[in-house]
């Protein structure tokens, strides 16, 4: 056993766990760890400008690689600033290890300088957290933290380390010597329940696959298996916001995203199906709309690694607890062994119905030759970046929904967005985290100007670490989604939903030392996008778009899927008082 200080143990344990990058910000209570980071070259440290940025960067890193992200923050404000990122990662099941400094053990509870009850504050927003009071237990706890973050349903964990524990010396426990955790969630699905699913696959007249982030979290093999299953059954497939890319957008069975701003054909297929196969999604309220009327005539199957997800919101007929990869392997094995049967008499009729729904072309919008429509900007971005090694992050709001509708994702881990928590300010730091993981790739943050301003300080990080992230800001000088709801639900009283005193984004870019592009004429859009793509460095792209565009299709709150709105034609009075509150 090697003796070392707690601070060195932190760095050693990170190395043992294969960590390459840490996103962090120093402060008094983590100085010993920063001193150790300084004296080695295996782990790269990315200095952020705000701890929230560090956690979102770690999320971007994790979502785009499938590996856990690591952030390092100091005590007190460092830890409290990390709370939003932790909650975001918890909601979207992203594996993170956040290490926080703490005042020395003998000062805990005395309201010391930069003291906060970090484990108390972060208990509800982490999968697990630990306050380590003994250096001898530190290495073991760090290894345990990685195990917990990455096993079962992934999630963020936090280890709070008092400064005296960092200074003290003890034996280092290597990864192999760490005791086996009792935390071993079930990953293999029940074979008898899987047989019931196979029964349903064989007989379904109007089936639909409804997939989510769990497919992506399960690893690349899960996406491959899903593609095999879809190809061999020829069933239609839709996905939540979190699951985009697990089935390719160019695939012929792809219905597009479902949910509140999902595609007409996807939502109507969900409403009209007789067998719904949920793979790694969780019946979020943005998906289901009014529960009572959610897919009323279907048998529902739910595959989820988290037993508490099953029957939490929607009662299902078959609930299979397990890892998507292992469950899909078993589904394919059983179904193939039984002859790969589907209801071939009924499926063509179902597809004919879907073709009719597709013909509605629900994403149609009225383009303009004088003003850039946000949808058009994204269509051009999609066309001009197609086939590139491309990663997309977003902020939260209208632009996020349009990005999900108009950009196509062919592979998992290419789309990083804040789904569950809906964190404005996520996209810019997340894009930097993605770029750090994939230095040669094209990383674009599709943003709204309001969200983007929330963490714009991280442009400094992008500059310092030469992360050539492209900030594609759809600038409508409005909090677009808020404005849309106010138009539809609050008598067009636009309370605090426009952005006054916006900065000059081009000058802002120059102030940070990167490139700024402003564009407001649709005729110049392609050239501007090409200029952005060609620039070797970060770009702030200020795309001035139509200020009052609404995001459609839209399932009004309190309405079932089959009552979705398709466009501006008649939105007045569609949402009643009951719906207004569901926003």
């Amino acid at each position: 056993m090697r003796q070392m200080t707690g601070a060195r143990m932190v760095v050693q344990a990170l190395k043992d766990q294969g960590v390459e990058v840490v996103f962090g910000y120093p402060g008094g209570a983590v100085l010993p760890i920063y001193d150790e980071i300084f004296q080695q070259n295996d782990i790269k440290h990315i200095l952020v400008r705000h701890e929230q940025g560090a956690v979102h960067m770690a999320e971007g890193y994790a979502r785009s690689t499938g590996k856990p992200g690591v952030a390092l923050v100091t005590s007190g404000p460092g830890a409290t600033n990390a709370v939003t990122g932790l909650t975001d990662a918890l909601m979207d099941s992203i594996p993170l290890i956040v290490i926080s400094g703490q005042v020395p053990t003998f000062m805990i509870g005395t309201d010391g300088f930069q003291e906060a009850d970090t484990v108390g504050i972060t208990r509800p927003c982490t999968k697990m957290n630990w306050l380590v009071k003994d250096t001898a237990k530190l290495a073991e706890t760090l290894h345990q933290a990685f195990h917990v973050a990455t096993h079962g349903r992934p999630g963020p964990v936090l280890i709070d380390i008092p400064k005296d524990v960092q200074f003290a010396t003890a034996d280092y426990t290597p990864r192999e010597a760490a005791k086996v955790s009792h935390y071993q969630p079930r990953v293999r699905g029940d074979e008898a329940l899987i047989a019931k699913l196979v029964d349903l696959i064989e007989t379904a007249e109007r089936p639909v696959f409804y997939t989510g982030g769990g497919v992506i979290n399960s690893g690349r093999t899960a996406s491959t298996l899903l593609r095999d299953l879809v190809a061999e059954t020829d069933f239609p497939i839709t996905s939540t916001l979190m699951g985009l890319g697990s089935y390719p957008a160019s695939g012929k069975n792809w219905l597009g995203m479902l949910g509140m701003h999902g595609l007409y054909e996807a939502n109507l297929a969900m409403h009209g199906c007789d067998v719904m196969i949920n793979i790694g999604a969780r019946f979020d309220d943005r998906i289901t709309g009014r529960i009572k009327d959610f897919s009323p005539h279907s048998k529902k199957v739910h595959i989820d690694i988290d037993p508490s997800s099953i029957n939490k919101v929607v009662r299902v007929d078959v609930g299979i607890v397990g890892d998507v990869t292992l469950v899909l392997e078993e589904v394919l094995r059983q179904w193939r062994a039984r002859g790969s049967k589907t209801n071939r008499a009924a499926l063509p009729k179902w597809w004919a119905q879907i073709t009719e729904w597709r013909a509605v072309k629900c994403l149609t919008y009225k383009n303009s030759s004088t003003v850039i429509k946000p949808q058009y900007a994204l269509e051009r971005l999609e066309a001009l970046t197609k086939g590139m090694d491309r990663y997309i992050t977003t902020e939260v709001g209208q632009h996020q929904m349009w990005a999900a509708q108009f950009l196509g994702f062919e592979d998992p881990h290419r789309w990083m967005t804040s789904g569950g928590l809906g964190t404005m300010g996520y996209g810019l730091p997340a894009s930097i985290g993605v770029q750090v993981a994939h230095p040669d790739a094209l990383v674009i943050n599709v943003a709204g100007e309001a969200s983007w301003l929330m963490n714009m300080q991280e442009m400094g990080t992008a500059m310092q670490f030469r992360a050539p992230v492209k900030q594609f800001i759809l600038n409508n000088e409005r909090l677009g989604m808020v404005r849309q709801w106010q138009e539809l639900l609050h008598g067009e009283r636009y309370s605090s939903s426009w952005s006054e005193a916006l900065p000059d984004f081009v000058k802002l870019a120059e102030a940070f030392g990167c490139k700024g592009i402003r564009i407001d004429d649709p005729a110049d859009l392609d050239e501007a996008i090409k200029e952005m793509l060609a620039y070797n460095g970060p770009v702030i792209f200020d795309c001035r778009v139509e200020k009052h565009e609404n995001c459609f299709p839209m399932i009004p709150s309190g309405k079932p899927h089959n009552e979705m709105l398709l466009g501006d034609a008649d939105t007045q009075g569609v949402i009643g008082a009951k719906g207004a509150v569901l926003v």
Partner: protein, 186 residues
């Protein structure tokens, strides 16, 4: 939901569906939860209940395996069958939780609670209190000329019944441990 003063059948004051479809089928369940005996684990369990809006009627906790660092939490909770199922699933996914048993659902169980009652009085009332205590098999663990402290072990219902009887006889204070429970049989 009545606490939120929402008219039955209306959801017009909330961002979410508030009507519980099984609102009338509230059941009481006793859960035994075996957890790592580490700092913060009780806060984690209680935080789960408060954070997700579940009820705690009674809660006891103590270490039961010193070498294995395991504690047993016995919690009595109320809810509709889906809510009870959800509570169990949510408890079970907590990292320091080893086992969750629904003693109400898994078969017959023994449930006991210990309570201390301070009863003050003179004359007839005092004699009556002592007589009732004998009937209930409560022990006198402290006595002055003007008061008794009774100790009693029993089901929560028995303790409630004894408290009701003592109230007119000068009941001053009650201390209860909350329910400890085990499944019957091996």
């Amino acid at each position: 939901m009545s606490a939120l003063n929402i008219k039955k059948g209306s959801s017009s004051h909330s961002a979410y569906e508030l009507r519980d479809p099984n609102g009338d089928l509230i059941e009481s369940h006793t859960l035994a939860v075996v957890v790592d005996n580490e700092s913060g684990v009780l806060a984690r369990v209680i935080g789960l209940f408060s954070g997700r809006g579940y009820n705690i009627d009674s809660l006891t906790v103590a270490e039961v395996d010193h070498e294995g660092h395991l504690s047993r939490i016995t919690v009595v909770t109320r809810g509709t069958p889906p809510v009870i199922a959800q509570i169990k699933a949510q408890l079970d996914r907590l990292v320091p939780v080893h086992e969750v048993h629904d003693l109400t659902a898994e078969g017959p169980s023994v449930q006991r609670e210990l309570a201390l009652f301070k009863v003050a009085g003179r004359g007839e009332a005092r004699i009556e209190a002592l007589r009732l205590a004998e009937i209930f098999r409560a022990n006198v663990v402290d006595s002055t000329l003007e008061s008794f402290v009774f100790e009693m072990t029993g089901t929560p219902e028995k303790i409630d019944a004894f408290a009701d009887l003592m109230r007119p006889l000068g009941l001053r204070e009650i201390a209860r441990t909350g329910v400890a429970a085990l499944a019957r049989g091996a």
